[in-house]
Symmetry: C2
Subunit: 352 residues, 2 copies
Amino acid sequence: MCDSDFLKGMAMAQEVTISVDALGGDNAPSVVLEGCEQALAADSQLHIILCGPAEVVEPFAATHERCEAVATTESISMGEHPANAVRKKKDSSLVVGARMVKEGRAQGFFSAGSTGACLAAATLVMGRVKGVARPALASVVPSPVRPVVMSDIGANADCKPEYLLQFAVMATVYAEKIIGIENPQVAYLNIGEEEEKGSQFAQEVHKLLREKLPNFAGNAEGGDIMQGTYDIIVTDGFTGNVCIKTIEGTAKVLFKSLKGIMMSSLATKLGALTLKGGLKELMASVNADTYGGAPILGVKGACLVGHGSSNATAIKNGILTSANVVRTNVSEVIADYFAKNSKPASEEAKEA
Amino acid sequence: MCDSDFLKGMAMAQEVTISVDALGGDNAPSVVLEGCEQALAADSQLHIILCGPAEVVEPFAATHERCEAVATTESISMGEHPANAVRKKKDSSLVVGARMVKEGRAQGFFSAGSTGACLAAATLVMGRVKGVARPALASVVPSPVRPVVMSDIGANADCKPEYLLQFAVMATVYAEKIIGIENPQVAYLNIGEEEEKGSQFAQEVHKLLREKLPNFAGNAEGGDIMQGTYDIIVTDGFTGNVCIKTIEGTAKVLFKSLKGIMMSSLATKLGALTLKGGLKELMASVNADTYGGAPILGVKGACLVGHGSSNATAIKNGILTSANVVRTNVSEVIADYFAKNSKPASEEAKEA
């Protein structure tokens, strides 16, 4: 699925305000500003509240329609302890960005900054949806076969089976609303297809999903993720994080090796020219940036985290996807579900 | 690293007998027989005890030097419960193959059959090395950068931190003896580089390895595996199994997509011709079969498990690597280590 396919389904009728962390990402603020400019141009109903140093955000807002500047004095770096940084640096671009949603000035927040700090800010500042035991970090796995939603990919290293049931429910809403998959099927990432496979924990998760999740399709294995065997892969945040980084690392190494082969002689260089278009598409299809970042599911409002290495296009996609999450009411649908269906499950989780 | 590089370092001076499961693998017995023939031709000091149905193994042994037939009447299929099948089917080719090592008629056993059944047979029939709490299934991860030993990749879904210390020690011996890496460095597969990252379990493992493993290099992330950042990746069998299958699945999907691009027009077909040689090498380098299967470490004698989809070359490599494991005394060095160094650790593990 290429960039334009993914974005073309978005309804752009409704006015939406997204707060953006001007200091998020390795190449901030320049690519963030470029990304904001592109997003504003692409979506005429989009408003941006740009949070960052006055000298960065004010000149940008002054020269761009539908953009408001909120000057901040602090920044959170990648290396800082997430929760401590969020608690201490109340005037950081990241925390202020999240606060804009809490205060109702924006409906969604986007940052390509520290994932941990975004998770902490989403949970501590924006707040959990009632009934959600643990918000999850989801991702649209960049498979050339088709997009696969995976959750949790790193918010919760220690999980209880009940959490995974909630991750599955929230990912189902995201897959339906944002990826446009009808009646998406969820599989649990395990080490074998049979229900008795895996650790004690894995067996408990399988049993719980089998009992409580109507769209549960059984166990998946590692090979199923990229092959797009299932719409949604649910997993604990430890396994999910290792897996998503393994996919990225594997693709990176293979593309690098391929490039080496293509550059090895004049003949291979000429041969490679014929493949250039196809390869560019393939590389784009396995680029996570196409899907605009990783959503934090289970918090009040939209919150997406971009890759630290995001370029302007990735920032643009992240902001537009955040607006789409707002317009399709992902957070509200999740809140409704937990209000109606899973009070007992969330109580159990709290008690356990 | 191509096939010949990997095999050329093997010392072939010493006579070795390997028992082989004639019924192991999706294409058994035909590819197993072909593989045996190739292995016998490649190693003049190799003897094979071929275990399987009389009508399969006897004609082969009669026409091949250094090959003995042991007729068996049962077989274990991929779908059977491993431990139950091994306990019940005492005259299966897989169990009899393992028993040949137990009885001292062979020094190593190779099968491309059910991994679970091989693990059960290795543990129940061949027996654990004294001091080893849990044998591990290791693998040489097929990276085009360099071979990386990963353990455990699926023998132990539920682990204690002490097990991972032992997996690391055993993988160190394998990496030194079989892959030829001097002073190999071990990293622990976690979700961040910092020691405080990961689940409770991950933090305990990190602390233990930091204290007790001299060649511990710290935490690795998923992206490090294929990039060959470390010589050895140690992990629990759940994460390891998911990861190794994720790598295989990712490589498979990318090569398939690449093939699609190359076949899309006459121009791309011609262009692809120039890359054929390089691509063939790349695909071989990411083929697990090159390294002759996954060793079970911590059992008495050599035991390697081939991929179910093994072709004759993979079977040959598996048998030759099994012989190499015997000749380099991998099992004995591991036994010596645990006899001298880790009695307290194994006692702790037993008690815990």
